[in-house]
């Protein structure tokens, strides 16, 4: 077990290093002169040189990478070009918003995804099953920003149910905040809900074919008891695993949702940092997001290994 954890940990470290290398490589090859973009209009060559020195842009790529790497263990991510403040501070402000939104989305995914999946597995090939299959497929097939705009149109502009965008203003109570979460969380949850529904369906179907279920049925247990007591418990293991890992994705991949709904989270910051070529900000944000993502993966894998001994015994090819 310890060996398994150690090995997973070592893999994670390698991934993080790889990610930093990739990002630095991307950033180093961006077109345009960053110093000129940061400088006042018509700045002299001298001013540009000062800026380059200040942000280490004059150093060779490897040196810059080294300077950056040295600060990482202390989470020193440098100062943002555009905000002129430490990147960590900005992450500190925006990350809680992304996490809150991801939690709200996760709730939606759990409730609707599992419900739809179990229903369609139990009533296989029924009208309900077909409906779930089609509607989940349509959800996956829709561009997320279109879903967002349509929701704003229907629920906010026509029905006036929810505020069209933005985070709850400071001082709003928990209950008063809920309407602000509904639409962005639903848009963010759409794709994952569809996947969870499909995953739950296929996993339930698989379990329902297992011998012990057949035995349970043969023993004359009621169908309801078979499903709720036996099938559900085992059928949902892969779903729970997926949900755990998806949480990391929900935090990091909300770029479009956060843009459409003007949500002050990390995705929002990241998009604008990329287009404004705020190097330190992009590297810092992606670094933290990836860190969260791999950390969650690691936790999920380890806890899964506790639950399912087959994994840790296996010299089997690594997971994730």
């Amino acid at each position: 077990m310890l060996l398994f954890i150690l090995r997973r940990f070592y893999q994670t470290v390698i991934v993080v290093i790889g990610v930093i290398l990739v990002i630095s490589l991307l950033m180093a090859s961006l077109p345009g002169d960053v110093a000129r973009m940061r400088a006042p209009k018509g700045a002299s060559e001298e001013t540009l040189e000062n800026i380059r020195q200040k942000f280490n842009l004059d150093k060779p790529w490897l040196t810059r990478l080294w300077i950056y790497l040295k600060g990482l263990p202390r989470l020193e991510l440098g100062d943002s070009f555009t905000y002129k403040r430490p990147v960590m501070e900005i992450i500190g402000e925006s990350l809680p918003w992304s996490v809150k939104l991801a939690i709200a989305a996760e709730i939606i995914i759990v409730v609707f995804g599992i419900l739809a999946g179990v229903i369609s597995a139990v009533f296989r090939y029924s009208f309900l099953d077909v409906l779930v299959t089609i509607s989940t497929s349509v959800l996956v097939a829709m561009p997320i920003y279109w879903i967002g705009r349509l929701m704003q149109l229907f629920f906010s502009q026509w029905l006036h149910w929810f505020p069209p965008s933005g985070a709850p203003p400071p001082g709003t109570g928990l209950l008063g905040s809920i309407p602000y979460y509904v639409m962005p969380a639903t848009a963010l949850a759409a794709i994952s809900t569809a996947y969870v529904a499909r995953l739950a369906r296929s996993s339930m179907l698989e379990v329902l074919r297992q011998d012990y279920i057949v035995t349970a049925r043969a023993k004359g247990l009621s169908e309801r008891k078979v499903i709720y007591k036996h099938a559900l418990k085992n059928g949902l293991i892969p779903v729970v695993t997926y949900l755990g890992i998806d949480f990391g994705v929900l935090i990091g991949a909300a770029v479009l949702t956060e843009m459409i709904f003007n949500w002050p989270g990390v995705g929002h910051k990241l998009y604008f940092a990329v287009i404004q070529r705020d190097h330190t900000m992009v590297i810092g944000l992606v670094f933290i997001l990836v860190l969260i993502f791999v950390a969650i993966n690691l936790l999920v894998d380890i806890s899964y290994a506790f639950l399912d001994p087959r994994i840790r015994l296996g010299e089997a090819p690594e997971v994730t």
Binding site: G32, R36, Y83, P164, G166, N262, Q276
Partner: protein, 545 residues
């Protein structure tokens, strides 16, 4: 007969009575409307379309920063919100010497900073010096460049202060210029000239002043949550004649006009920018409350004058000018909410000339000029690309112009870039055919011609790299001509010369596209696209009815 006469009279009387009642009722309503009115207090939610870069007067340049900054800071002079005429703000009056080199401002007494201290002439000296100090690294210090000693202090670093600004006593400020420049007084209405208290700057450090701005304006800064909102509240001791009615203003920060507009429709915002493509619909829905007023700004396409094929080919540049259909662009593509450009300087600026340029929509003439340029029917032209920055409909305009040029045989690609990259590539002369806009800093002709076409501004705001000694001379001469009519005549000459050279295709003059809630009154959008929030109030009628 008798009977019918009676009936007739009865009918007449009834009709009269009814008319009278209706009239009285009508009058009553109107009176009610006139009294309706001001409900003191309330929180106004203002739509800001991006997070300001800074709230430090020394860094106020982009419109969002100025929209907020104008509420917090006041300066010596201001522009009338409707006519843009220069009116005194913190200055009681000013005098100027005969050759327009020395300006003496007499300040109002008892003007207070938000921290309670009185603002004096020394504060102006301190603030202006701070803007020009190279350590501040102000990107807008150039507004002060006519002041004597600016170059030595800001650029050459041979002086340690701005020689041309002196406080003669607490309420008298003397400004000496490097060269005669009568229009300088217009500059002082720009927020970069606003006084700020030294003690606050020292308390937080110069770099952090932006997060704790203090000025003398109608509203006092409360907080700034980046990317979300800026809150200001009414400053009770405001010196101005128009005391603010609102208790609080929340500037809500958005990234795109569309989202903000939806929030406006839902009632979350009290005003918003109308997104392109919804002008017609907004005008129909909101009537007067959708403000489409001419603005002091121009939208143009520029050529890089250093690079082939534009270089030394006036006929080619003129051909492009004749090929574009400005009328259809404004009436159809922009849904009638832009004005076809008639030159560089828009109407509303003293000295505007309606017939500044000869270019009309004339494809035949464009073809003839193309032939003259050596590219008959567009043949022989290298592969051209028109650049634009992505967002807010620039791509639609580019596609329309592209099809205009195609009609005369010229084809080019169009390509969108992000704003930062875009400016960088234009300055680096990698994009040589591009769209840009210019909004007036101050309502004078100089502000359109000098930054955009004076040779020494090449690469700063003069992105076309236009250099014409004759124009340079005219502009300098105009600046130092104290007589207004003479000065304007020189600027007009310069404008015509530039247009003849055609370094740009003037396309259209901007209009504001702002809408505000029916709950508020006193809402004005100025020709420089600002709202003086001290004039805005909530209507009483809305609550009593």
């Amino acid at each position: 007969m008798k009977k019918s006469g009676f009936i007739l009279i009865a009918v007449l009387i009834t009709a009269l009575l009814v008319g009278l009642v209706m009239t009285i009722g009508g009058c009553g309503k109107e009176e009610k409307k006139a009294v309706e009115e001001i409900e003191e207090g309330g929180t106004f939610n203002y739509c800001l379309t991006a997070d300001p870069v800074s709230l430090d007067p020394a860094q106020l340049q982009e419109s969002q920063g100025i929209e907020v900054g104008k509420q917090i800071f006041d300066g010596l002079m201001d522009n009338d919100p409707k006519t843009m005429e220069l009116v005194p703000a913190m200055a009681e009056s000013y005098e100027v010497n005969d050759d327009a080199t020395v300006f003496t401002f007499h300040l109002k007494k008892g003007v207070k900073f938000h921290n309670g201290r009185e603002c004096t002439a020394q504060d102006f000296v301190y603030s202006w010096n701070r803007v020009c100090d190279p350590a501040t690294a102000s990107e807008v210090a150039y507004h002060m460049s006519p002041i004597k000693g600016f170059k030595e202090f800001n650029e050459d670093k041979t002086a340690t202060s701005l020689a041309g600004v002196k406080a003669l006593d607490d309420y008298t400020l003397e400004v000496t210029l490097e060269y005669p420049y009568a229009d300088f007084v217009y500059h002082t209405a720009h927020p970069v000239f606003s006084p700020i208290p030294k003690e606050v700057v020292e308390q937080y450090g110069s770099e952090n002043f932006s997060e704790h701005p203090v000025g003398t304006g109608p509203f006092k800064f409360v907080s700034w949550t980046h990317e979300q909102q800026i809150v200001v509240e009414k400053f009770a001791d405001y010196y101005g004649a128009n005391k603010p009615h609102l208790d609080k203003v929340v500037f809500k920060i958005y990234q795109d006009d569309e989202t903000a507009y939806q929030d406006f429709k839902a009632g979350t915002l009290h005003d918003a920018q109308i997104p392109q493509g919804q002008f017609e619909a907004a005008a129909a829905e909101y009537g007067e409350r959708a403000i489409f007023k001419p603005m002091l700004g121009i939208y143009y396409y520029g050529f890089n004058m250093n690079v082939a094929p534009w270089k030394d080919n006036k006929a080619l540049r003129q051909a492009f000018n004749y090929a574009v259909d400005r009328e259809t662009l404004c009436s159809v593509v922009m849904e009638g909410q832009r004005v076809p450009a008639t030159g560089i300087v828009p109407p509303g600026i003293p000295g505007y000339q309606a017939g500044a340029m000869e270019y009309t929509y004339d494809p035949e003439k464009a073809k003839a000029l193309l032939e003259e340029a050596g590219y008959p029917n567009g043949q022989g032209l290298p592969e051209l690309t028109l650049g634009y920055n992505t967002g807010v409909g620039h791509d639609t305009i580019a596609q329309f112009i592209q099809s205009n040029l195609k009609d005369v045989g010229v084809s080019f690609k169009i390509e969108g870039y992000e704003w930062g990259t875009y400016l960088d590539l234009i300055q680096g002369e990698q994009i040589t055919f591009f769209r840009l806009g210019w909004l007036a800093d101050y309502p004078i002709m100089d502000n359109f011609l000098y930054p955009l076409f004076y040779s020494e501004n090449a690469g700063v705001d003069n992105m076309t790299q236009y250099k014409n000694p004759e124009v340079d001379e005219l502009l300098l001469k105009a600046r130092s001509t104290p007589d207004e009519d003479e000065r304007i005549e020189l600027y007009r000459k310069a404008e015509k010369l530039i247009l003849e050279d055609a370094p740009i295709i003037p396309l259209m003059f901007y209009k504001t596209s702002r809408v505000y809630s029916d709950k508020v009154g006193g809402y004005i959008r100025t020709p420089d696209d600002l709202t003086p929030l001290e004039l805005v109030y909530f209507k009483k009628a809305a609550t009593t009815e």
